[in-house]
Amino acid sequence: MQGKDEFEDALLELLPSDGTPVLNRVMRVMMSKRIGRIIDANAYVEARDHLQQLGRIGVTRGQGGKVFLIAQPEPAETTITPETWSEAALMPFLGNYLSEAFQDELDLPNGSTVVVQDVSRVGPREGQWTRPDFLLVSLARLMFMPQQQLDVHTFELKAEYGGSVQSVHEALAQTRFSHFGHLVWHLPEGSPTEARLDEIEGQCARHGIGLILMRDPVAARFEVRLGPVRHHTAALDIDGFLVSRLSTDNQQVLKAALRLGSAL
C-alpha cells in the first residue's frame, strides 16, 4: 500500500462510521499520524477528491471544510434465512414463480408467447414509482380472431415488513405503463404483519391491483388473494415502457412472435 491508495485507506478508516463530519485539517493530521509521515495539502486533497468521486465520502464547506463517510450498502447476503429475507433475496423466487406457476394460471392459448424480466434496476431513476420489480408480457394467439392480444403485467415486490397501503399505491402507479398491476408480498404464516392484510387487500380490491402472498419462497408456496383488473392504459404508453425496459433479447422474442402471428 503506497501513496494515494494508502492515504485513501487511512481516510476511510479514520472517518467515524456514523457519518460524523471531520475537519479537513484534523483529518490530515490524523492521517499523518496514522501513516507515520506528513501528508501535504495537495496529496490530501487528491485522495479526498477521488473518494468523493467514488461516492465513498461527502464534503461540506465552511471552516476549512469537513469530510464525512457515506454509508455503503450492506454486502450481498450469503446465507438466506427466514429472518434475513430482503427484497433482493426474494427476487429470484418471484422470478421462478412468474415463469412457471403464474404463467400456467394465465391459461393462455397454445402458441402464445410470454417473457418475464427483472426490471427493478432498469429505467430512469427520476420520477416516482417508475420501476416495477418484474415485468411479464404475454402475447396470446387467439383461435378465431385475427389479432393477437398483448398484456403487460407489472409486479411490485415487498418484503415481510414492507407491505403497506403505500405499496398498493406503488403497484397502482405502475399501471401507468401496464395493463395489470400486482403487489407481491412476502407474508409468512403467523407473521405479525398479517394484521395489515385486511387493509392492504381492501386497497388492492378498490384499485384493481392483484395481490399475491408469498407464503414460503423456498417451497414456492404462493397464494393469489386477488386477481387484478385490466387497466385501459394507452397503447403509446405501453409501447414506450416496453421499449425502455425490455432487454433486446426479449424485444426480439416478442417481435418474432408478432411477425409469426401476422403471417398466419
Binding site: L23, R25, V26, R28, V29, M30, S32, K33, I35, G36, R37, I38, I39, D40, A41
Partner: protein, 301 residues
C-alpha cells in the same frame, strides 16, 4: 547538521517537559522545512504522551519503539539497531499555516528507569565502574545521534529530573543545554547544584565525561511578575548572567505562569489544535525564545 538541545534540570517541576513541547512547536512552526525530533529520556514519559497522545504512545510502547527498548536491544541484547530505527515520524497533532508540524518522536516509557538500573547493575557486575559506564553511554549517544543530526534540524531531549544514565549522556553530548528554572529560592539552589555537577565537575573531579560545549542556558519559567521574590530572583540571575565571566547564560525570553500552558499540554495530546490558538498570548515569547536559541546555537563554542 542538526543541533541537539537537552532540556534538563535536576530539580523536578520546573517546566522541562512544557519547555520541550513549546520549543518543539515553536521551532517547527518557525520553519516548516526544518524537521524537529523529540527524544524522551524521562521515565515519566510526559513529553511522549503530550506529543503522541494516548493511543499512539501506547502503540509505540507495545511496538518497542521507545528509548528503553533501544537500551535493552542495543546494550542488553546486542541487537545491532540504530537509534534512528526507534523514531516515530509525524507524531504531533498540531498544525500551523496549513501544515502539520513536522515533529517526530522517540518515545519513553515507565520501563526506562528499571532498564537503566538493570543495565548499570549488569555492567558493574561485569567489572565496569560508573565513570566507564557513563563514558560508554556518551559515546553511544554521540554515535547514534550522528545519524539523527543529518535528518533533523533540531533534536530536543526531554531529560529526567535528577540524574540518570541517558540524561547524563544527553546533557554532555548536547550542543545546547536549556535549564528551565522557576525564579524562586529553592529552584535557584537546585540550578546552582546542577551547574556545579555538570559544568564544574565538583562532585567528581576525576570524571572523564565531556563537558557541554556551551554554558548552561537558563530559561525562566512559571514566572509571576507580581510576586516580589520572583522579581528579585530574576534580577539576581540577570546580574549574574551579565557578570564578566558568567557561569551561565540567561535567556531574555521568559515563560510566565499562565493557565494556557497546562491546557495546551493537555490539548496537544487530545485535540488537533493550531499552533497560534494553542499557545495564545505566549506565541510572541516563544518566537523570541526560538530566535535566542538559534542565536545561541550559531555562536562558536
Amino acid at each position: 547538521m542538526g543541533h541537539v538541545i537537552a532540556v534538563a534540570n535536576m530539580k523536578g517541576g520546573v517546566g522541562k517537559t512544557a519547555t520541550v513541547i513549546m520549543l518543539s512547536h515553536a521551532l517547527a512552526a518557525d520553519d516548516s522545512a526544518k524537521k524537529v525530533l523529540i527524544m524522551d529520556v524521562d521515565a515519566q514519559a510526559s513529553a511522549s504522551f503530550c506529543t503522541a497522545g494516548d493511543a499512539l504512545h501506547t502503540e509505540l510502547i507495545e511496538g518497542g519503539l521507545t528509548t528503553d527498548a533501544f537500551l535493552e536491544d542495543f546494550l542488553a541484547k546486542n541487537i545491532d539497531r540504530t537509534l534512528a530505527g526507534y523514531v516515530r515520524p509525524a507524531a504531533s497533532n498540531v498544525m500551523h499555516n496549513g501544515n502539520v508540524l513536522d515533529i517526530s518522536l522517540i518515545a519513553s516509557s515507565p520501563a526506562l528507569r528499571n532498564v537503566e538500573r538493570g543495565l548499570i547493575h549488569a555492567l558493574t557486575r561485569s567489572g565496569y565502574d560508573m565513570a566507564r559506564i557513563e563514558a560508554e553511554m556518551c559515546s553511544i549517544m554521540v554515535a547514534h545521534l550522528g545519524e539523527l543530526r543529518r535528518k533533523y534540524a533540531y533534536i530536543l531531549v526531554d531529560c529526567a529530573p535528577g540524574i540518570s544514565l541517558m540524561t547524563e549522556a544527553a546533557i554532555r553530548v548536547a550542543d545546547l543545554v536549556v535549564v528551565p528554572t522557576i525564579p524562586d529560592y529553592l529552584s535557584v539552589l537546585g540550578l546552582n547544584a546542577f551547574r556545579r555537577n555538570v559544568w564544574n565537575d565538583l562532585v567528581d573531579a576525576d570524571s572523564k565525561l565531556p563537558k557541554p560545549p556551551r554554558p548552561a542556558h537558563v530559561l525562566i519559567t512559571r514566572r509571576r511578575s507580581n510576586v516580589n521574590s520572583h522579581q528579585q530572583t530574576v534580577a539576581s540571575l540577570s546580574a549574574q548572567a551579565q557578570a564578566r565571566r558568567p557561569d551561565f547564560k540567561l535567556f531574555r525570553s521568559m515563560i510566565p505562569e499562565a493557565a494556557v500552558v497546562p491546557v495546551a499540554l493537555e490539548k496537544t495530546a487530545t485535540d488537533f489544535p493550531l499552533f497560534l490558538s494553542l499557545w495564545g498570548n505566549l506565541v510572541p515569547e516563544l518566537q523570541s525564545l526560538v530566535n535566542e536559541v538559534k542565536s545561541a546555537l550559531s555562536r562558536r563554542t
